[in-house]
Subunit: 477 residues, 2 copies
């Protein structure tokens, strides 16, 4: 009895100490914490995916395929080297759905945590200065917009809030998808499973398909496709935006610059994508050539939403014209919102570059957006993220071109798709030799973890900075 | 007699007034002046090239070919839609050599003029502040490093200095080339003409070949190839660097940050290019596969120097592996020095991006290079230039992919070669339909005039800027 109590006591102390050290690491160095968490998850899922019980054929899955699937699932990428609809057993498929949710919720949580580092970089001194300002409008425009930093200080609380939001959104999307899958001829059980699967793949911006034939049975089902777009769109906005908008949707004027900039840039890119796909593909017999005006617009909208990270497609990617492939490369590279399940360099990063050019063109010394001044060190962060992305894509493309001798456009497309965790593929990924598979897996990891941690790591490295004026800071990367 | 004197007087007044108005425009708005000068030159040379007397066959050259050649010559690009060795008459060939010299000297002069705008942006106020500082080292580190702004205030004087420098360098290169061409079996007259032609093509970074077979007869002549590299290298450094180094080559420590940054980045890129070409092409049977170690290194060095804007090649570009094409795309896009005959976004622009990332990574609030602080608005200029370049290349590539249905890698290569006025070609340029030829001509114009004028136009737009500390400003774009 005494020994048991002592053991329980020791176990509790061990548990508390572990929790404290996790919390400490997450606070002290959120970027290292994120890398640790994602690496551990990927190793665990590689092990699980390679087990015979995970495959439909009950055989060992080769290491390169198991690792690639684990990275693709945890990084919510959606690229695959095996046929996702047939290769995996029920257990394997459950692993996939659980994995993308862990990966999606994990990235939302960790990136939100790191967004706080970037937002709070000014430190105590500047915050106190802003608070001591007696002008109320000044306080509102103060250095840290709390709506954007989610007002949550602890990893645990943040994780719970993110998980509840994800569950709520995925439930709505599941409910929207279920009757359509049922109507397409599936049994109730099958429809329930497929709607949960599709909904998870949409909100986490992964883009795997559970059924043979992928989206082909639903290519004309605009309700189904719209529900997918809703899930992908919400997932790609990023948690800080979802949180701020859901809390203050009645007062859009009080949204932070980050929220406004993300929404504005997302809508502009979406419309630009629609216009480009209509212009380039309306006369392509393999894609939209046989469609009417309304269908061409809808399918172009679907392509535009999915290319920035969703990864679903109603057409065969390699049927697109070369010009559309290049346009898609660009949309994929930009990606979605910061602290979202989408990848890429992030829409705010691109927006900051254009704000810098606009400030320069109009002769202002400061970047401005929505009536707020944006400090110039954010531009340095944005430039760092773009350099990281361009370097990763260039090196990976050169290496895979050397390994595979595949066509240049297909290599560039699949590498950017991997880096930006988009998941659209020209078919190259499934044909790569193991060496190429490892390179592409590394590219997915660098794209997912790299862009998210880089900005925070760089921002955290700054220690001595004195500002004299209050500022507001959007998140980049 | 009276009437004659009055006429002469009126003519002198007209001439003086014209000279004053040219000088005024060049000072008030050097970017508009540059666009005006280049557009006029291109229209004049288009007319001349289309004349029957300019072609070897004594026939009218079609408008798209004449325009493309005029743009390629005046923008010192080196791309061609006709066979440059056989299409033109003696008159046409003289036009080409005169044209590249006018284009080369013109761009050196105008870009140097605009570099002054960027360097002098601080205006009188800051200069007076720096001058009133009693600390002599402070004055030395003052806002305007005069070595970099060439100490020449007038367009005419600057033009003469540039022309003399160009003539001196081209004469040396001609003298180095002449005996080798003679030794290859050409007559004295032919050797004289070809050495003048090659020398002009080298220093102006154009890269046309006067003889059938291009560099094939000289592919093993390392003296000849080294002389070409010398001309290309000096041309690609930029006039401010040549001027500063020739004036103060004994005291490298006193060179401006612009000079040091240009030389450092140029050497780093050159060595990186050598390493990449060796690694990717040493086992390619179509290029360096049959060469020994020394030959592979030399030919890789030649490729590396030429790909950043020279445009000469000893191998067939389309024989390069896909990975080398992508690496070359990147080197071409970066290009040479500011205010040089080379194109691209310029090496200092790239350097500024990396300095920003390094400042961010080390937690400094200011970019630093060679012991100097670089003001953050230079980063905005650099970002603007890169956005301009990326947008031009992306739009031109998408349009030409639509027009030509050519392979993606060839389109991207030739478009970047046009934008960066490099002149290397996969062979696509010669096969484009007229619509594509016009698009590529526009791309060359935007690349040559755009990057050079953009930074100056943006820098000049700034009017109210108060600095409290003296700074030094490298040129970008
Ligand atoms: K995805
Ligand atoms: K050239």
């Amino acid at each position: 009895m005494m020994a048991g109590a002592a053991f329980a006591h020791r176990r509790t102390r061990w548990y508390l100490r572990a929790r404290d050290s996790v919390d400490g690491l997450a606070r002290r160095s959120p970027s290292r914490f994120a890398i640790l968490v994602f690496t551990s998850l990927i190793l665990l899922f590689t092990l699980l995916f390679s087990l015979p019980i995970a495959s439909a054929a009950r055989t060992l899955t080769p290491l390169h395929d198991a690792l690639f699937t684990a990275v693709s699932v945890i990084c919510v990428t959606g690229l695959s080297t095996v046929d996702m609809a047939t290769h995996w057993s029920a257990f394997g498929n459950i692993l996939i759905v659980v994995g993308v949710n862990i990966g999606g919720v994990g990235v939302l949580t960790l990136a939100s945590l790191m967004g706080m580092v970037i937002s709070r970089r000014l430190g105590l001194r500047a915050k106190l200065m802003a608070a001591s300002d007696t002008n109320p409008s000044r306080i509102h425009a103060g250095p840290v917009n709390e709506g954007q930093t989610v007002r949550l200080g602890e990893v645990g609380n943040l994780l719970v809030t993110v998980a509840i939001s994800a569950f709520a959104i995925e439930s709505v999307v599941t409910a929207l998808l279920f009757p359509r899958i049922l109507a397409s001829g599936a049994s109730v059980g099958e429809a329930a499973w497929q709607s949960v699967y599709y909904s998870a793949m949409a909100f986490t911006n992964t883009g795997f398909n559970p059924n043979v034939g992928a989206l082909a049975p639903f290519a004309d089902d605009y309700w189904f496709l719209s529900a997918l777009m809703l899930g992908v769109f919400l997932g790609s906005l990023g948690f800080p935006v979802i949180y701020a908008v859901s809390r203050g949707w009645r007062r859009p004027r009080r949204w932070s610059v980050h929220v406004k900039l993300t929404l504005f840039t997302t809508v502009v890119l979406m419309l630009a994508g629609v216009a480009v796909y209509i212009a380039l593909e309306f006369d392509n017999p393999k894609t939209f050539g046989s469609l009417g005006v309304g269908d061409t617009i809808f399918q172009s909208l679907f392509m535009s939403v999915m290319s920035r990270s969703g990864g679903f497609a109603t057409i065969t990617v390699s049927d697109l014209k070369g010009s559309s492939l290049l346009a898609t490369d660009m949309l994929m590279f930009i990606g979605g919102g910061s602290a979202s399940t989408a990848g890429g360099i992030k829409v705010t990063t691109l927006a900051i570059l254009f704000l810098a050019a606009m400030a320069e063109a109009s002769g202002r010394t400061e970047m401005e957006a929505f009536g707020r001044r944006i400090p110039s060190d954010i531009l340095r962060l944005a430039v760092s993220v773009v350099l990281w992305g361009a370097t990763t894509v260039a090196v990976a493309s050169i290496v895979i071109l050397q390994i595979s001798k595949a066509p240049f456009d297909y290599v560039l497309f699949d590498v950017i798709s991997a880096f930006a965790t988009c998941g659209l593929s020209t078919g190259l990924t499934a044909e790569l030799p193991p060496a190429g598979v490892y390179v592409l897996a590394a590219t997915m990891f660098m794209g997912r973890i790299g862009t998210v941690t880089l900005a925070a790591a760089l921002a955290a490295s700054q220690s001595r900075q004195l500002f004299t004026r209050p500022e507001e800071r959007p998140i980049v990367g």
